[in-house]
């Protein structure tokens, strides 16, 4: 197993290349999930404000 990670002395290069790819390909969808949540929260907030404004106008 150790020999596998050692990769004939090139382990540091191979695993850092794989690591960079993995890191970016995990970060991208994670930021997408956060962005989607924040957009949904913002639209909800605007909707609530709009409803409150309409109610105030009625009274």
């Amino acid at each position: 197993m150790n020999e596998f990670f050692h990769m004939g002395g090139f382990g540091a290069y191979i695993w850092s290349a794989m690591g960079i790819a993995a890191l970016l390909m995990v970060l991208e969808p994670v930021t997408l999930v956060f962005r989607r949540r924040s957009v949904i929260a913002q639209i909800k907030r605007n909707k609530r404000l709009e409803e409150r404004r309409l109610n105030n106008e009625k009274n």
């Binding site: 990769m7 004939g8 090139f10 191979i14 290349a17 970016l24 989607r36 909800k44």
Partner: protein
């Protein structure tokens, strides 16, 4: 049965469809990338005639470099459809493709630098392939920057579509930088991309991983386009009726 494909050019119909497709693309992406890397690490020789273990960087390097170029062509195609037919969704797709393309370009450059260090003894060289790829990164960044610099959505869509079209000139340059007809003329340090020379198990692993990267790109692009749709169509009645906002 007649399927009306134009139905899905409307954001209202595309939004739920994309939502259903995303998990499917994620499953395929994870399965294919795992299979490709398994094949590439366990079914291949440790040492090749001209490269040692470090050649295994090829799986992520080639897959991401291909994606970076193809996604650029995909982005331009969407931008062109948008310019010709003036469809809102096409521009949103173009803009959603740009960031995934940028991520792929960064991965290709970073893994390429690491591979270069082991194989050529240098992290970077102003070789035609590397240089044109760096410019591809700048064009992606320029597209994203231009789009966010113009507040009016319709104008920013059109302006950035034109920039993307101009940048398309890069794709054949990158291609010929690797597949140079006469090496004396191009002085390319980068290996020629001759698939027929690659050992078959490595080739299989590389192609499976690339397919996985395609699925990853579909998944992230659809996720991003759904958010863009919400942002841009927030004032329409169909968005306010979505279950996301009614619970």
């Amino acid at each position: 049965m007649k399927i009306n494909w134009f139905k899905y050019s409307a954001p209202m119909n595309f939004y739920p469809l994309a939502g259903k497709l995303i998990p499917l693309f994620w499953i395929l992406a994870i399965a294919l990338i795992a299979l490709g890397l398994y094949w590439g690490f366990f079914k291949t020789a440790d040492v090749l005639s001209d490269q040692k273990q470090y050649y295994r960087i090829i799986y992520v390097h080639v897959a991401s470099a291909w994606m970076a170029m193809w996604l650029y062509a995909v982005m331009v195609a969407w931008a062109m459809v948008g310019l010709v037919f003036n469809t809102r969704l096409s521009f949103m797709m173009a803009s959603a493709t740009a960031i995934t393309g940028t991520v792929m370009t960064v991965i290709a450059l970073a893994t390429g630098a690491i591979w270069g260090k082991t194989s050529w003894g240098t992290w970077w060289d102003w070789d035609p392939k590397l240089t044109s790829f760096l410019i591809l990164l700048f064009v992606y960044i320029g597209y994203i920057a231009l789009q966010s610099a113009i507040d009016d959505v319709r104008r920013s869509d059109k302006a950035s579509a034109l920039l993307a079209l101009v940048g398309l000139a890069l794709v054949p340059i990158i291609y010929y930088a690797v597949n140079c007809p006469d090496p004396n003329e191009c002085a390319s340090l980068h290996q020629e991309s001759s698939l027929e020379r690659v050992e078959s198990n490595i080739l299989i692993a590389m192609l499976i991983t690339t397919l996985g990267f395609w699925m990853y790109s579909f998944a992230t692009i659809l996720m991003r386009v759904r958010t863009i749709i919400l942002e841009r169509e927030r004032n329409t009645s169909w968005v306010s009726k979505l279950k996301e906002f009614n619970n």
